[in-house]
Symmetry: C2
Subunit: 121 residues, 2 copies
DNA sequence: GCGTAATGATTACAGCTGTAATCAATAAGG
DNA sequence: CCTTATTGATTACAGCTGTAATCATTACGC
């Protein structure tokens, strides 16, 4: 699975949300904050195709694009990469990190505890 | 805090581990797997200086380099970025992710639970 | 003192990324 | 039919990144 750039990722998000879509449809769904032209979206689509992150099927004169892998797979790989790099591959230090920065509310803590209880059973 | 590229990060790691260091010393401590020449390390150091990620003090004819911010701060920012992008800013889905991929051993679970208990008290 | 080694600064260059514009082909509308 | 809009393909271009080489300066060994 090849690396996906930040901008390209925005396009993937659109297609993970709904697919297949035409280029124009994708452009219409990219977050407006990006301020992208249709041309830019087309460039992204081409590059993602070349990288093997998208597949396309012909639909008359145009293409319908769809992701070539599941969002969960990509997300798992990226998270793993970061955790390996920054936390020696262990999750605990990450949790500790976030806790120390007040990024964990009591509700979050409760939720994670419930999840872990679940995992043990 | 400006963005740090993957290769630059390797240099930061060296200096977070020990600093201040000269360029040659940094080069001697970069993971050998990188196979970098001294010239490459010098380029990284210049760029990191320009980005404000490093500070330097004169030592005779050369510089001694040191990080301009703590590793924890950088790591917190990067983790936050990823969690925002991929998990809507919430940690629980990340934990669930990793659990579902068997990246959490029973020992890990125990450890995190202990950490969370700690946090609540 | 003089050659040599070390050091920061400058320059190089290809590949990736963000952000398009242009072009050729063709479908759709009138 | 003819014009116009749509679509993928190709090209553009600057900034960042990986990976150095070269250069000018200067300190150090002999």
């Amino acid at each position: 699975m090849e690396r996906i750039a930040e901008g390209e990722y925005a396009v993937m998000e659109v297609l993970w949300e709904e697919s297949p879509l035409t280029a124009a449809e994708v452009a219409g769904r990219v977050p407006p904050g990006r301020g992208w032209s249709l041309a830019t979206v087309k460039t992204m689509l081409s590059r993602l195709l070349a990288k093997g992150a998208l597949a396309h099927e012909q639909d008359g004169r145009r293409y319908l694009y769809r992701p070539a892998f599941a969002r969960e797979d990509y997300v798992a790989e990226e998270s793993g990469r970061l955790i390996d790099r920054m936390f020696g591959g262990r999750l605990t230090p990450l949790v500790a990190q976030l806790a120390a920065r007040d990024r964990l509310s009591p509700a979050d803590i409760e939720e994670i505890e419930a999840l872990l209880r679940e995992l043990k059973s």
